[in-house]
Symmetry: C2
Subunit: 582 residues, 2 copies
């Protein structure tokens, strides 16, 4: 596909935001072949003789381990930076409150800090490297399928992505660090191939080798981001490439194990406070450990319905995001001022809502306490809201601090992962109206956010939306259908959150088996696999009835990249000679 030359051939606008393939786009040669050059190279480095074992086997594994290690270190740096910067942001808020500023000034400070933070990320995308935008998974999927955007695995992209994601998460945008970490890992993989001092990697088949290293890096990115080595391998196999050789799995495996080890080795002591060098169940898993994961066969239909619902929400998300992205492609463009201001605008909306929900809720609760207006709401829910506000003994405060918010209110202020943990593990019941509001807000805001000019992953926002949905279902069921007090072994509310999270992410991204694996690893428990499987499959099938997964949608429908899937699509079968050409 020598696409840069004959532009007039392209009838559809393609590789979006450019309307035609960007100059320099190439396809990648992934065939194994026996050219004279290749044979000469092999002979030169003794690859056909006894050197084979030490040279070919040994050093390549060291390189793969290096991919994992560097990816793991990048992930740790990102993780720790986000943690400290987010804490710093909350500290600024506390300082403002303690200085006695009014709620209006506090609001301005809150939003201002978010805008400052996000403008770093937006600058990196809009003026430095446009490929750092979004999660990067679509671009990597393209690369692994043979389409080489210029710079997609360049050092500049790595820096822009890794630094940018720290600031976009700190700004409180509904975006996760995991997708960008996968992209960072992939870039690391490509960069490491250049450090091949022993000439293990054949220059003649460098593209093949680079593909394997990029896949290994992407897998190591998942492994490091979630601490889920097997999830990483499966993600690369399932989502990465349509035409992948199973023997590549061993390479992925090595990179993933190293990546996960590096990330867990440092995260445990730095953020978890355990002594250096202790590993295993001592290190906290990313989303907190579930200890009791019982469930009853009778709950299976409920899980199934949640899977279908997750598929529907996911399809809705994808459809809206597609329209939005099409509008953006037409009116905003890939870089420059317009895209920068769009980011600021979106951040303004997001952080205003985040600030206002607890602020208004305090006001309205004070109002409802004074007026005793019980009337229109379902009494039980309303009563719980009242009693909760009474319990926490809210003064007629005119300021907001994270630690003074109630459990339900703090959802809106916390870091994404903290909110996810509280939805999964909180023993206390949430106020359902807040969770519902959180669900709606998070669904719409993450849809609005995915596609703006900052690095932003989809994993955690989707999980969070789904967890809120699951929490609602779980609490309603436990209140009305089977109260836990009966002493039955029905699944806990937290497990319903986990099911909801799986359903939503599977409905959006249409990943199944690797998602199940990642969720098993981030909750440290291999026993709740079966309901998660059921749910992700149903969510994927339901979603597939309506549209493509969000990554394929961005690749095929928006960027118009000619992605070659493993199987021809149904409407292709019967076009004469299609399969032969392929």
């Amino acid at each position: 596909m020598d696409s840069s030359s004959d532009d007039e051939k392209w009838e559809v606008p393609t590789f979006a935001r450019h309307r035609k393939p960007p100059p320099g786009t190439e396809s990648i040669g992934y065939d194994l072949y026996e050219s004279p050059q290749y044979m000469n190279h092999l002979k030169q480095f003794g690859r056909l003789s006894g050197m084979d074992v030490c040279n070919n086997i040994g050093f390549r594994w060291i390189l793969l381990g290096m991919v994992g290690l560097v990816t793991g270190l990048v992930a740790v740096a990102v993780d720790v930076s986000i943690d400290y910067l987010f804490e710093f942001r909350m500290h600024i808020n506390d300082v403002v409150v303690d200085a006695g500023w009014s709620i209006g000034c506090q609001y301005l400070a809150f939003v201002g800090v978010a805008l400052c933070s996000v403008s770093v990320a937006a600058y990196l995308v809009c003026y430095v490297e446009v490929l750092a935008a979004g999660s990067g998974i679509p671009e990597i999927k393209c690369f692994l399928n043979g389409i080489d955007f210029p710079n997609v695995v360049g050092l500049k992209t790595l820096c822009a992505k890794a630094i940018g994601i720290v600031f976009s998460v700190t700004a409180g945008l509904p975006c996760g660090k995991e997708g960008p970490m996968i992209h960072s890992g992939a870039i690391t993989g490509a960069l490491v191939t250049r450090c091949d001092i022993l000439h293990t990697i054949n220059p003649v088949v460098i593209q093949q080798e680079t593909r394997d290293f990029v896949a290994a890096g992407a897998a190591a990115g998942v492994a490091a981001a979630f601490g889920a080595p097997l999830g990483g391998v499966l993600f690369a196999v399932e989502e990465g490439a349509s035409h992948m050789d199973p023997s590549i799995m061993t390479r992925l495996f090595v990179a993933c194990a190293t990546g996960a080890l590096a990330s867990r080795f440092f995260i445990g002591p730095i953020l978890g406070g355990i002594p250096w060098g202790h590993l295993g169940s001592a290190v906290p898993v990313s989303f907190g450990k579930f200890h009791h994961m019982e469930w009853d066969i009778l709950e299976m239909p409920i899980f199934a319905m949640m899977g279908v619902a997750g598929g529907l929400f996911g399809a809705l998300f994808n459809a809206v995001n597609q329209r939005l992205s099409e509008w953006r492609i037409r009116h905003i463009g890939p870089r420059g001022r317009r895209r920068f201001f769009e980011v600021l605008l979106v951040t303004l909306v997001v952080s205003s809502l985040q600030f206002l929900v607890p602020a208004v809720s305090v006001a309205s609760k004070e109002f409802s306490l004074s007026e005793e207006g019980v009337g229109s709401l379902p009494s039980q829910l309303h009563l719980r809201s009242l009693s909760e506000s009474e319990e926490s003994q809210l003064p007629l405060r005119r300021h907001l601090k994270l630690e003074e918010l109630s459990l339900s209110e703090s959802l809106f202020w916390q870091k994404n992962t903290a909110a996810l943990k509280s939805l999964f593990h909180s023993e206390e019941e949430f106020n359902l109206w807040y969770v519902l509001l959180f669900f709606v807000m998070n669904l719409s805001l993450s849809c609005l956010t995915y596609g703006i000019g900052v690095p932003s992953g989809l994993f955690v926002p989707a999980l969070l939306t789904g967890a809120a949905f699951g929490r609602i279902v779980g609490q309603l069921l436990h209140s009305y259908v089977f109260p836990i007090s009966e002493g039955q072994l029905f699944a806990a509310t937290g497990l319903y959150s986990l099911i909801g999270a799986s359903a939503m992410l599977a409905g959006t991204a249409r990943i199944t088996i690797s998602l199940a694996m990642i969720l098993m690893e981030v909750t440290g428990n291999a026993e709740f696999g079966l309901p998660i499987f059921l749910v992700v499959m149903l969510a994927k099938w339901t979603g597939d009835v309506f549209n493509r997964g969000i990554y394929d949608l961005h690749i095929i429908d928006l960027k118009k990249v000619p992605l070659l899937e493993a199987k021809p699509e149904t409407n292709m079968i019967g076009i004469f000679g299609f399969v032969y050409v392929v």
Copy 2:
């Protein structure tokens, strides 16, 4: 490969035990093509119109679910039968003891029952269906790579295999039920394609479809045997086929989830005594759950050395088994009287040793107690052996009952899985001499057993050998290097057993990622993955220096089947045009 016609072309004895391809061996056509027949078929069943969704998607998944369900039920039946029959065998022994027979008569009864039991299994293999022998994994691997032995996925083979394995395990042979369950699952997959009443499966591409169903069945077999759904998927992808499309993973996934669900649904109440319908962490996992899996980074070199050792033991096992199998191919043949008597002979040896070890050990302990001969043995070990025998207050008994044996002695009498659980989880320390004897005996006897004319899997014997090795290392380390009393978080002895088990199986069968996954699922814990990864990779690499994995060895070196691997072997590169022909 129309192999049945021109026999004289084959210069090497091939498809062993027949010296030439058995008549009827065919290759399988796995290409996607667009013949006029295929297009007509698609049109006829509306596959190119709107029927697509309900017909193509819906019913195929139901069929795949059926594969999982039937495989799960077969696994449950095998599991429960083994449990009851083994208990019955021990009951017979107890009756003999209670009747006051002498130790000689008890020995005869013990061996006699084993011989009766094994002769059922041997009859099924030697006179009914020779393909029921062994684990069946090599044959299924051949099938998935396009070589179709006659009857390999036939109903007769299924019955012979499923019934046979019950009796060979009951006889106390060092063989596992897991390999045969994988073969049973694969057969179930092939049989289910015949129940395709809605014509979902295109008759024109029936071989492709059958391959997918056989792969799904094999995966469901793993899933049901171990209760490890993801392990099943990975096993099929890693070990099953060299040329497999990642999109097949979804199909495997559905079959595996159903298979694991069916097996866990029934096993929990029947063997675990929990109420019907309760699932999740309530159901006991196959090899018992580890609760604390801490380890220290300093232990990594020890794990690594254990991995290398596992690779060496595995390579030794494979080399000896290869010589043994070559001898068997020359002198015993595939079926008939000779093979039957070989089985009886091996069983006689195995069960005699099993009986004699505790019997002799009782005698020698009485001897050492009376003579107080401490001299030559390392004092600490010997003292522990003495104190253990004092604790259990052995009378000068002249009979043996399973429940009266000490912890270390009972290793030799227990069911394989029970012995494995006790090596993994026992808090009490084993007598190291017994464990060492058990290790040597199990290594040599399982090597002797693999290849005789009974259904016999390799998984559990290899795990057991490795667990004994790991236990030895663990106990020695805890006694001499870092005593647990220091309050450090070093790995428990049981974890060393787990590491040893992983190393041994990876060294023998050279499976890596799926083995790690299975071990994570059977211990219910996703947090000990990293050391297991390290160990299985090192064991595989070490083993690969010396010879092939046991399955490939049986396929390529012994049966001389032309298996096509994903990558050409090094000595093939350079043969002109090799890659083009492939």
